[in-house]
């Protein structure tokens, strides 16, 4: 069981907000954290990892106390059983894939885990490449494998799939589910994608302005107006300025052509990739939810 209680002031677009979170997490759960940009999702993961310190708070992982500001207890990230995958992958650019994985090995670590992860994540062809020679999806698989070399109990994933297109995203979701079950992890996943939440999470927390406004099963999560059921990356074919606003014609990966109103200020030109949020039945929106 993980018990956490954090208070931390954050600088958000709307001004200073106070992240106030008090929750318990059952072992081996997969929790999705969602909510608008600047609501404190990444900070929450960083607090769990020990990369940030709260003004006041408490964090217990099983029997271990990782943080207790009253008793001045702070366990640094190195001593916490965590694995973290960053949004920007954070692979070490000067090391090949194999060396990136071996770097993560602990002093008394078993090298067998590296081969095992290479097999699970299907990285065999990539071990001799440098990160800059990999696609986004490949980098993300390496980052996930590297985070698991240490055999952590708690896996923290900060929007790991946000830069990838839908097909790749679904495959990586399968990888993440596989390792989550195989290694008996407790996983926290920050995501904006509703289909990802329904597919992966047992529990979802919605964070708004630093407060958890929903914690429960994904099925009961109310979808706000601009909520995306799923997102696709389409290519703009035409951009028309009409009296009522801008109308985009977008070519979706499925081959379908759709017309959607553009709600932002600077319309994309033909050939540009745009995220398209597929909402409820028949409702299509451009994704501008951060």
């Amino acid at each position: 069981m993980i018990g956490l209680h954090f208070r931390k002031k954050l600088q958000a677009a709307s001004g200073v907000i106070t992240l106030t979170v008090e929750q318990e997490i059952a072992p081996h759960q997969l929790i999705a954290i969602t909510g608008p940009s600047g609501s404190g999702k990444t900070t929450l993961l960083r607090l769990l990892a020990g990369l940030s310190k709260p003004e006041s708070g408490f964090l217990r992982f099983g029997e271990e106390v990782w943080l207790d500001t009253e008793r001045k207890v702070f366990v640094p990230p190195q001593k916490r059983s965590i694995g973290m995958v960053f949004q920007e992958y954070a692979l070490f650019p000067h090391l090949r894939v194999g060396a990136n994985l071996r770097f993560a090995l602990q002093k008394d670590g078993d090298t067998k885990i590296i081969q095992e992860l290479i097999d699970i994540m299907e990285l065999g062809q990539l071990v001799d490449r440098f990160p800059r020679q990999l696609s986004g999806g490949q980098q993300q698989r390496v980052a996930l494998a590297r985070a698991l070399v240490r055999q952590p109990k708690l896996l923290l994933l900060d929007e790991p799939l946000s830069a990838l297109d839908t097909d790749l995203r679904q495959r990586l979701q399968d990888y993440m589910l596989r390792v989550h079950h195989q290694y008996g992890l407790t996983t926290l996943l920050v995501t904006h994608d509703f289909s990802e939440i329904s597919k992966m999470a047992e529990v979802v927390w919605r964070l708004e302005e630093g407060m958890i406004t929903y914690a429960g099963p994904p099925a009961n999560l109310e979808r706000p107006r601009n909520w995306a059921e799923t997102t696709l990356v389409g290519t703009v074919v035409r951009c028309q300025s009409l009296p009522g606003g801008v109308l985009l014609t977008v070519h979706l990966p499925s081959g379908q052509l759709i017309q959607i109103p553009y709600l932002g200020t600077v319309p994309p030109g033909p050939g540009e990739k745009v995220p398209v949020a597929i909402g409820g039945p028949g409702r299509v929106d451009l994704g501008i939810w951060g």
């Binding site: 990892a49 020990g50 990369l51 990230p77 070490f92």
Partner: protein
Amino acid sequence: MDYFPDAFWQTLGLTVRLAATTTLILLIVGIPLGWYLASARHRLKPVFEALVSMPLVLPPTVLGFYLLLAFSAESPFGSWLDSTFNIQLVFTFSGLVVGSIIYSLPFMVQPIQSGFESLPAHLAEASYTLGKSRWTTLTRILLPNIRASVLSGLVLSFAHTIGEFGVVLMIGGNIPGKTRVASIAIYDEVEGLNYALAGQYASVLVIFSFCILLVIYSVNARKPGLL
């Protein structure tokens, strides 16, 4: 006439020895200092940055003047050094090293600091979450990714120490084989109307400076960093 007198080689040897010693010590000092300045969020950080960069704007004679006062046997610091460690820094090679370290400090620290600042924060953070100490993170992740900056710092500090004049003259004087470096020797030979020898020193320094800059720019052109 002996075209390259022994004193010529002695002076050049001393110049290179001073630059090499200074650069080595600056490397050891510059990496932690650059890292600290790159990562510090301290209120006093601008004060440290200003102090490190002072030698860039101060006339070297001003720096040399204060160092001379501090090092002299009459000053509390100078007499303490002398009585406790039996170290004299005025008109000695050790004094030149100390002066050169202060004088060339910004040339080592600034490239290293901006190298660290150019690295994304998540590289170090990823290393910490993989259980690695700050030392391992520094030596195995951060430094290899700022190799070009460290090389710039090394070469610039070395070259800058070779070219220093004012500080050396103030605290070192002009003692052959002890404190007479090439730039001082040029001045001295010109004063003695010995233009031929002054020209030899000067041409060596010109060729040397050009080669050093050529090395830096070629290395940077071939390896534009890994990021």
